[in-house]
């Protein structure tokens, strides 16, 4: 595309600015004038900007693709293209200094797109457009229609800033922006207290994560002297510096030495971690917040209080994957710390399993999907944690389709249930549904396809992406990139135990089995069997629809009502498109069949990380033989899980499930209550915080208010009395203050100041007396109590050597211009510092 190339050169690719500005424009227009414009204008505005943004994103990615193909053929590399990148600097914001060398760190508002962020951009704008379209019907009746679209557009802007930012600061702006929009949209119906509380909970949980991200950002600036992706990649090796000064001292904190009464805390061995481990752990804390992983996942299920399109867009397809994106983006940093990588993989696997167990028993269709999202995010982290960045990111991509489709499908069902059941909780309860297959054929078909995809039915998108993650979990092994070099210098490094890989695989297969079960359960309960919502029939004349709109908020109606209806085309069209993607998206990276266009496309982005630290257990050849045996595990998970669900809910119409729940009543209840994690946090975190707050309040009330405030106020009152006494001549008070100030100056300048600084080098000390106008000096260097010379002279520097283990006292006397003298005594002596060995996780 030479025309595009000439219009937008690689470093001045202004199209990016336009792609970000369009949704922002929509947000501003709908936010400020939306109420006056009317609904059709608001929808037109929102859809236009999103459609244009998607079209421009397509153009950008096509351009990127042509550049990539060029590098593929022109570079002479063996089938590996380069990372291609289009950048645009909005403006140069400011710069700061950092790093050990005091490097100049420019903080620019700069955006760039490469293979990785290109895919993200397409997902955000493409699925974003579909969800905007869906929302025009879903939210049609809402009073705050314009506000909703303003928030939604603002979210798209922030999300684009997040993925397109060329440095961590811009990413952070987007990161906070999506957090804000998520907060606003979760609490969109803020009239209800629990919605507002859910918004607050999301905000607070994210705040903990953001703290980690900030710390990681500061550490990166300190270690690498850069905050932009290229600069960090260039200097990433500095994170591995083995010198004790460059490592993060975990204990004693900050590398101090505990002395005196705290000496018992001083360990025999100092515990340190490498800069890479510190940075990546801090960044990963940020990821666990945004991407709802253990232990910070608690906000995501509650976030379902927001409108369903929001759940689909923000809490399934885009924002929650930001953490995975960050790990992929900084893969070359994460891979430097095998320890962190193992933590990521383990946290991911455990989250996948843990959330799946909760999803098994939930009755609210959105809650099932929410825990399913947490679980699937766990799979993604499992993937990137074992160094399979392409596989993890591929799951982000496929998940965006099938989970958005599932949420929108659930939204479609809720929408039609809501026509006659006005209670939110009841209209989302699967026990009130059933048999909807007949009434909502399109919703059913798309929901079923997406279910098949998420449970890993062979050759659907979910099969390929999940299978690849499980396969890589088994075969991949993250190793320290400098292992050999460190070994030569006698330094040990942390290594991932060999049993971790197979264990992760087993946990993953177990979670996948549960996924198959609970998703099939949701499908069966919702669409099969008999409809249980209300009696279907012609409404009697006395009970028209309008009557119960306000009067009846119970479980359905006493009298018959029309059958649930299919949703309008604005809602079914996005469903069909997304289901298509869910069904066929997998062929972009069908690794077992060697169809891997996406893999090749992303390879250059992860090349640095993969070549540095990812090994395959037993070599590539060995792993090759394991492809189908390991895939069999995934297929078995699908088959077993769905078969059990079929037997329980279709063949036996739910009886075994009830029996099982009866038999394990307590366990069932505990799972239904989400293992009571919220309650645990309530006691352990919120309770402790509240107790601390109350203690502080008591101290504040008793001591600060009682003692300090009263004392202060009486002092102020006394001062007021003094000032009143001076009232007639307040001007004199002013000049008196000046005179006092001047006198203070004079006092300081006239008083002699004998001060010296000492520099130690081994056993010799260089003492340097502070100079002063009109000052002269005399020394007692040998510590015999007599000055070396009776006369004051100009000598300001003195060198003294002290034998090891002994101390010496040196005296300095000064005489200033006014003939006043002052003196100081300096004690010199070598203190034998306890030589502490340095060990730790390198």
């Amino acid at each position: 595309m030479p025309a595009l190339e000439s219009l937008f050169p690689r470093d001045e690719f202004g199209l990016l600015g336009l792609i970000i500005a369009l949704p922002l424009l929509g947000a501003i227009v709908n936010g400020i004038w939306g109420r006056r414009l009317g609904r059709s204008a608001v929808s037109a505005m929102a859809l236009t900007v999103m459609g244009l943004a998607f079209a421009l994103s397509l153009v950008t990615v096509c351009h990127l693709h042509s550049l990539f193909t060029e590098s593929l053929h022109g570079g002479g590399g063996a089938g590996h293209g380069e990372r291609v990148r289009l950048a645009w600097t909005a403006w140069e914001w400011f710069h700061t200094t950092g790093g050990r060398s005091g490097a100049n760190i420019p903080i620019d508002l700069k955006f760039s797109v490469d293979q990785l962020s290109g895919i993200m951009m397409l997902v955000i704008t493409g699925i974003g457009f579909l969800i905007h379209l869906y929302s025009t019907a879903y939210m049609a009746e809402d009073a705050s229609y314009a506000r909703f679209f303003a928030y939604l557009n603002l979210f798209i802007t922030a999300m684009l800033v997040l993925v397109l930012g060329d440095n961590l600061v811009v990413l952070f702006i987007g990161w906070e922006g999506v957090g804000l929009c998520s907060y606003l949209l979760i609490g969109f119906w803020f009239g209800k207290a629990e919605n507002a509380a859910a918004g607050r909970k999301a905000f607070l949980a994210n705040r903990i994560g953001d703290f980690g991200l900030l710390i990681g950002m500061f550490l990166l600036a300190q270690y690498t002297g850069a905050l932009d992706w290229d600069g960090i990649a260039r200097n990433a090796h500095l994170l591995l510096s083995p010198s004790p000064a460059a490592r993060v001292h975990v204990w004693p904190v900050g590398g101090g030495i505990y002395q005196g009464m705290w000496a018992f805390l001083q360990p025999a061995n100092v515990v340190t971690i490498s800069g890479a481990t510190a940075v990546s752990l801090a960044l990963f804390l940020g990821c666990t917040g945004k991407s709802a992983q253990l232990p910070l996942y608690v906000w995501l299920p509650d976030a379902m209080a927001g409108p369903t399109p929001v759940s689909a867009l923000i809490h399934a397809a885009t924002m929650v994957t930001a953490g995975v994106y960050l790990v992929c983006r900084l893969s070359f940093v994460f891979v430097l710390s095998p320890f962190t990588m193992t933590v990521i993989a383990v946290v991911g696997a455990l989250t996948a399993l843990f959330a799946a167990t909760i999803a098994l028993v939930q009755n609210d269709v959105k809650k099932v999907l929410a825990y399913s999202t947490v679980s699937q995010l766990g799979f993604m982290f499992l993937g990137v944690g074992v160094g399979a960045f392409t596989a993890g990111f591929f799951h982000v991509f496929t998940h965006a389709f099938f989970k958005a489709c599932l949420f929108l499908g659930a939204g479609s069902v809720i929408h039609s249930m809501h026509a006659h059941i006005h209670d939110d909780a009841a209209s989302q309860d699967m026990r009130n549904m059933g048999g909807l297959r007949k009434y909502m054929p399109v919703t059913f078909a798309t929901f079923a396809i997406s279910t098949l995809a998420i449970i890993g039915t062979p050759f659907t998108s979910g099969f390929f992406s999940k299978d690849e993650i499980l396969f890589k979990a088994f075969t991949n092994h993250v190793v320290h990139p400098m292992k050999d070099k460190f070994a030569q210098r006698g330094l040990g490094v942390w290594e991932q135990p060999t049993w971790v890989g197979p264990a992760l695989y087993v946990v993953g297969v177990l979670a996948a089995t549960m996924t198959a079960f609970y998703m099939c359960r949701a499908l069966y309960l919702t669409f099969f069997g008999d409809f249980k919502g209300w009696a279907i029939g012609e409404p009697s004349a006395a009970k028209t629809h309008a009557d119960h709109d306000h009067a009846d908020h119970g479980h359905g109606h006493g009298g018959p009502a029309p059958a649930p209806h299919e949703s309008p085309w604005q809602m079914t069209l996005p469903l069909v498109v997304l289901a298509f993607g869910a069904l066929f998206g997998g062929w972009l990276n069908a690794a077992p069949l060697h169809i891997e266009p996406l893999g090749h496309w992303l390879d250059p982005v992860f090349a640095q990380a993969v070549s540095q630290g990812v090994q395959i257990v037993g070599g590539e050849e060995h792993a090759h033989h394991l492809v189908w045996p390991l895939a069999a595990g995934g297929v078995a998970a699908f088959a077993i899980g769905s078969a059990i669900a079929y037997w329980m809910y279709i063949a036996s119409n739910g009886a075994p499930a009830k029996a099982l729940a009866e038999r394990n009543k307590k366990l069932h209840q505990l799972a239904l209550e989400k293992w009571r994690v919220d309650e645990f946090y309530g006691v352990a975190v919120v309770g402790v915080a509240e107790a601390t707050a109350e203690t502080c309040a008591a101290i504040d009330h008793g001591i600060v208010d009682g003692l300090f405030a009263k004392a202060t106020s009486s002092v102020v009152a006394a001062a007021g009395f003094v000032l009143r006494a001076l009232h007639t001549g307040i001007f004199h008070a002013y000049s008196a203050a000046m005179v006092v100030g001047l006198a203070g100056f004079g006092w300081f300048f006239i008083a002699p100041h004998a001060e010296a600084s000492v520099n130690q080098a081994g056993g010799s000390y260089a003492i340097h007396a502070a100079p002063g106008m009109g000052y002269s000096f005399r020394w007692d260097a040998d510590g015999d109590g007599k000055f070396d010379s009776e006369r004051f002279g100009p000598t300001r520097d003195l060198s003294v050597s002290v034998e090891p283990g002994k101390t010496k006292q040196v005296r300095l006397e000064v005489k200033n211009a006014f003939g006043l003298t002052g003196s100081t005594t300096i004690t010199l002596g070598t203190e034998a510092k306890k030589g502490a060995a340095v060990v730790g996780l390198r």
Binding site: Y734, S735, G741, G746, P771, M773
Partner: protein
């Protein structure tokens, strides 16, 4: 010859422009144009200073003929631009304010212009005599502006106090310079520096001179305890004059402070960390920040609050001055950048304050602001905006001003001082945010007088320009920061 004229052009433009303004005031009845005329004159001067900057002071060859009286380096040029812009903005505010309040007498603009000229001379002064002439030209104008509301006893009282104390401070400073001349035989700053740097000079009179000069300078920048005139003078003066004093007079004070402390007393012994001025100035900074912020929180009058706020900002600036002795280039440019951000923020705040009230319904206390955000959102918004910048919230200019000064202090190893400055800026948030509480969260008590906004194109223009600069310095500080860095060690 041309280049040396270019060096003088900013001052010449203002001098002749001020004369022309006086003539115009006498010869025509049209008073409305005077504010805009003053602004045009001052903007022209700023443009010439910018031109001088682009040509580069090193290419102003013949400018050396003014030496040692006037020094034209990047330091001078930076201040010329800053002072001319501040003066122009204050003149625009005056255009609306004086008309609204019925004190629309033309001499205001001429005095303001001459006072700006004095401040520029102060920044450019290379000799003690020139410095004194500049100081008095600036100060006498400021005294007159402070007392411009002749009918108001408060105005007269504030101006008289300012004048008397100002004369006292000027006398102290002059005495100090006289002692220096006696000890060294020099009146030019460079010569003084060389004389003081020589080891052989041991006269106690120099130490006394340092104390006296320091006291005079501390008065000009209103550092505690030399600040007591400030609230009275700021409160009594017509608001545009207050804005002018808070921005231009303070900038002039800091120009001379930097010049004198870093040039004349920049030698190892005078700037010693044990015996010289840095610990004294550090203590002044701590006192100034702490006292001003604590007292500001107790004010009921908005103007007095802003007066104490301006004192507190002088404290942060003094932190930068102390840092400048250890890391000259970086810290000095941080001070210059801070002055730029502070000037536009504070003029903007006073301009917005002017716009919030009208004759007989002015904003005096917080109570007057109650509910303004709901009644007149368009008027309340700019006030809130500049208050945010003064409080140092990103992405306003004030944030980066503080950022660079604090960073310079950290880099200079002044950790304790930085922590105190940081705590102070947190305390300051209390009284700044109080403005928000009244603007947006309070309704006026029944029957209480409420402020009625006025309308004036000049004031709105000034606000728009200030807002532009505040956002520019906050979002794209690069250009101005580079300029401040280019000044480097030239002070």
């Amino acid at each position: 010859m041309m280049p040396s004229i270019l060096a003088l052009m900013p001052m010449l433009v203002i001098g002749f422009g001020a004369l022309a303004l006086m003539l115009a005031e006498v010869l025509t009845d049209a008073k409305t144009g005077l504010a805009v005329g003053t602004a045009v004159v001052l903007f022209t001067a700023a443009a010439f200073a910018c031109a001088g900057w682009m040509v580069g002071p090193e290419n102003l060859g013949d400018a050396a003929v003014f030496a040692p009286w006037l020094v034209f380096d990047r330091f001078t040029l930076f201040f010329e631009v800053l002072l001319a812009l501040s003066g122009a903005l204050a003149a625009l505010v005056a255009g609306g304010y004086l008309r609204e309040h019925g004190i629309d007498r033309g001499e205001f603009y001429a005095i303001l212009s001459f006072s700006t000229l004095g401040a520029m001379m102060l920044a450019a002064a290379g000799d003690v005599l020139m410095l004194f002439v500049g100081l008095e030209t600036m100060s006498i104008g400021a005294y007159a502006l402070a007392g411009f509301r002749r009918g108001s006893p408060k105005s007269a009282e504030g101006a008289l106090k300012y004048f008397l104390l100002g004369s006292f401070a000027a006398a102290l400073m002059m005495f100090g310079f006289a002692l220096l001349y006696g000890a060294t035989g020099h009146t030019d700053l460079a010569g003084l520096h060389n004389a003081l740097a020589s080891e052989s000079l041991r006269s106690p009179s120099i130490v006394i001179a340092l104390a006296l000069v320091l006291a005079g300078l501390a008065f000009k920048v209103s550092a505690v305890p030399f600040h007591m005139w400030t609230p009275d003078a700021y409160e009594g003066a017509p608001t545009p004059a207050t804005a002018f004093m808070a921005a231009s007079v303070k900038a002039g004070g800091f120009a001379v402070l930097l010049r004198v402390l870093l040039t004349v007393f920049g030698d190892e012994r005078s700037a010693s960390w044990a015996t010289g001025w840095p610990p004294v100035v550090a203590l002044l900074a701590v006192l100034t920040m702490t006292v001003a912020n604590l007292v500001a929180g107790r004010q009921e009058s908005i103007k007095r609050m802003l007066a104490y706020s301006s004192i507190a900002h002088a404290g942060y600036l003094l932190v930068g001055v102390v840092a400048a002795i250890r890391a000259p280039a970086q810290a000095q440019s941080a001070v210059l950048f801070y002055l730029a951000t502070y000037s536009v923020s504070t003029i903007g705040a006073f301009a917005a304050l002017v716009l919030c009230g009208s004759r007989g319904a002015e904003v005096v206390s917080y109570e007057d602001l109650a509910g303004l955000g709901r009644r007149h959102p368009a008027v309340a918004l700019p006030f809130a905006f500049f208050i945010l910048s003064l409080a140092g919230m990103p992405p306003m200019a004030g944030f980066f001003g503080k950022w660079f000064v604090f960073k310079a202090a950290m880099d200079a190893g002044l950790h304790g001082l930085t922590v105190i400055a940081f705590i102070n800026s947190v305390i300051a948030a209390y009284y700044y945010l109080k403005v928000f509480v009244f603007l947006y969260m309070r309704e006026p008590a029944a029957g209480a007088p409420i402020a009625k906004p006025m309308w004036s194109g000049e004031v709105v223009t000034a606000i728009a320009l200030c807002a532009f600069f505040v956002l520019l310095l906050g979002l794209a500080p690069g250009a101005v920061l580079d300029a401040a860095l280019a000044v480097g060690g030239a002070g």
